[in-house]
Symmetry: C2
Subunit: 411 residues, 2 copies
């Protein structure tokens, strides 16, 4: 009954992800919108700044009246008036005229440049000596220099930073349309997994993934719904996944890296109406046991149980799904920093699969060194003490000490 | 009446900041603790993993029994038993004995190394041929290799990442003591500042800072309390600051870069009981008009009104105060990425002050190029289109095109 299914590449998984439709949007007050994702292009509601503005204290001029002027051969202009700050000038410049203007002032009609006050001299109440030749636009910020009406200031899919919130406020927007946060249900399975409150007997482990995944989901821009532990039998799993699907758009089921439990997970996921098995195994380590079934607009994702593998699988596969449902591109590691470093020890790898290795960053005289954190380290310290990941490409048999590597730094 | 006060350096301001006492702590359920700051060192509650554990499938041995063994000259050991996964072995190894063990299994008493199954051969039900010489500790994760009881696993002041939440869960902690988020009141002043909902008349600007600062405060780990606009007269300001002090530990007052309004701000701040004027001007651009008054455990901070200056002042001076009240180090730009780049155009600067210049990052064949975003660009585009800041040191007259720079990337 189980369809034949090949192991896919990470790129093939991301190609599926990129085809997902973003979720619906919602309108939020600006003060709640920090960190949220724009649902539509934000366009300039008008020209910005909307008028020609001086960037200097000095005199507004018609540039051609100053052509050839210099300290030894100044031009002489008639003072037509003074531009008052924050007011529209009620006069225009005729040929041979100039007007006093401050930084930020609006140029009178006819003017197209500003001469700095240091390059001028007031000879009498109506005559100004100009000792500089100005090109049109000199010391002027044009009416559309910030943006012309309709220009896209922030694209759909952009995550709102404090400066973007400021931009929206400056343009008079008190509300903004953002993507809804994808709700993600979290289930843990595995008969050896016990609640955090209990003390493990030999062979038991506490449910680390529910907490780690909740925190990861929130940081990725989703809404975390921890649903607790489920026994790894078909009936319990089916019931728990069905309950999650009523409330969520994504359901994560972690645990069960054994082939039996993985097949059970894929079977349970595939039992829902219209289910389509997209992924059953990926050529990547860690993260090989990743399972993805789509069912009626729901994304059912199976993750390995071991905490470090679970976390790296989240960054590789789940976060791109969340990003795509938020209207962003389906890429892994977008929230990671990048650091160029030199590998401190060899990192062997099996060709035929992409490999991600945790590294600790050490400083050296010749720059940062990435030290692989290998198997003997326990799960705990290897996660806590590593600062990032390096990728060994699918065709490589490993990297040598001294090789240049790019480190993806944990966010 | 106004005390004589010198302009300080950024480092002097941070030295004041570093003297602040962290705020009180609170206890949170683990699921709410992501991104929060640990209030006390988190120490290993016991040895981790707590027992000697095999990192391979194979045979547990007394290492000395294998000394000198090889494929051509193997050792022969008596099989004393099999270690069951997740159970404490009920036997110990005598000299000349070995025990079957799987990855993750607990070594029996007497054993101190594991031989990989590939280097062994089962000759009969009680005899195993060993073709490798093992050093003590080989293929074994020692009982304290992750941590010894009492080791600091996460220091006080550490911001909890998903993997840290996982660590706490793995060790059975359902609650964690974190720092309270410093509550920050936000006031805007300036007679030309109008609410976002209104349309500016010439010379008026919308209240951008309240929204930008709210968003910055939340991202920095504080609690934002926007308190709206206040007229720039002594009575109104005093009343508004007093009201903020009742609810908050930090009060920000932005606006009024003119000397008159700055002096009024300093006077109002200094009028509270026990007020101590720490800073009235800093040798930095932007950010020169920064004011800091301490009054009865409250931090009263005056910021420039212009939005880009206000934002950079926040990163330079306010965020370190928030970090310190959270029990962290008083440093600026800790949440910024770092990027080495080459300067694309000269960036002149006045010596005698530290200068921060916004830059846009462009790619080139020889690596990233930092392009200064200069004055002619409006406030809006310069903030939106720049990706970071470069610092021109206090003694420098500027940087040349082609100079190596370190870019602080906006978070």
């Amino acid at each position: 009954m189980k369809p034949f299914f090949n192991v896919l590449s990470v790129e093939q998984v991301h190609a599926f992800t990129q085809q997902l439709e973003p979720l619906a949007s919602t309108i939020l007050p600006l003060v709640q919108a920090g960190g949220r994702v724009l649902a539509a292009d934000f366009k300039a509601p008008g020209d910005l700044p909307g008028f020609d503005r001086s960037t200097m204290d000095g005199y507004a001029v018609r540039a051609r009246d100053t052509f050839g002027a210099s300290e030894t051969s100044p031009a002489y202009l008639e003072l037509a008036g003074q531009v008052l700050m924050g007011q529209e000038p009620d006069f225009s410049l005729q040929p041979g005229q100039c007007a006093k203007i401050g930084t930020g002032g609006m140029l009178p009609a006819g003017a197209d440049a500003v001469v700095m006050v240091e390059q001028t001299r007031s000879l009498d109440p109506t005559t100004v000596e100009i000792a500089a030749s100005m090109a049109p636009g000199g010391h002027v910020m044009g009416r559309t220099d910030d943006a012309a009406a309709g220009d896209v200031l922030l694209p759909a899919g952009h995550r709102l930073r404090p400066q973007d919130i400021g931009l929206l406020a400056a343009l008079g927007f008190e509300r903004v349309e953002v993507q809804k946060r994808p709700p993600v249900g979290i289930l843990s399975t595995g008969d050896e997994v016990i609640p955090v409150s209990q003390t493990p007997k030999p062979g038991q482990v506490r449910d680390v993934n529910t907490h780690t995944l909740s925190s990861l989901i929130i940081e990725a821009g989703g809404k975390a719904a921890p649903l607790g532990l489920v026994g790894d039998d078909r009936e319990a799993l089916t019931k728990a996944v069905a309950a999650s699907m009523e409330q969520n758009r994504i359901t994560l089921l972690s645990g069960g890296s054994s082939v039996g439990v993985r097949d059970l997970t894929a079977d349970v996921f595939s039992s829902f109406d219209g289910a389509k098995l997209l992924v059953h195994g990926v050529g990547v380590s860690p993260g090989k046991p990743f399972i993805w079934v789509q069912a009626g607009g729901h994304q059912l994702l199976g993750l390995p149980g071991q905490v470090a593998s679970c976390m790296i699988s989240f960054y590789l596969f789940v976060e791109p799904v969340i990003q795509r449902l938020l209207g962003r591109k389906a890429e892994a590691f977008t929230r990671f920093g990048r650091l160029k470093a030199v590998l401190g020890r060899p990192a062997p790898s099996a060709p035929g699969r992409e490999e991600y290795i945790r590294v600790r960053i050490e400083d050296s005289d010749s720059g940062p060194v990435a030290q692989p954190v290998f198997a003997k380290s326990g799960l705990l310290t290897s996660l806590i003490n590593s600062q990032g990941l390096i990728k060994i490409p699918v065709e490589s048999e490993g990297l040598y000490a001294g090789d240049q590597v790019e480190v993806f730094l944990f966010p």
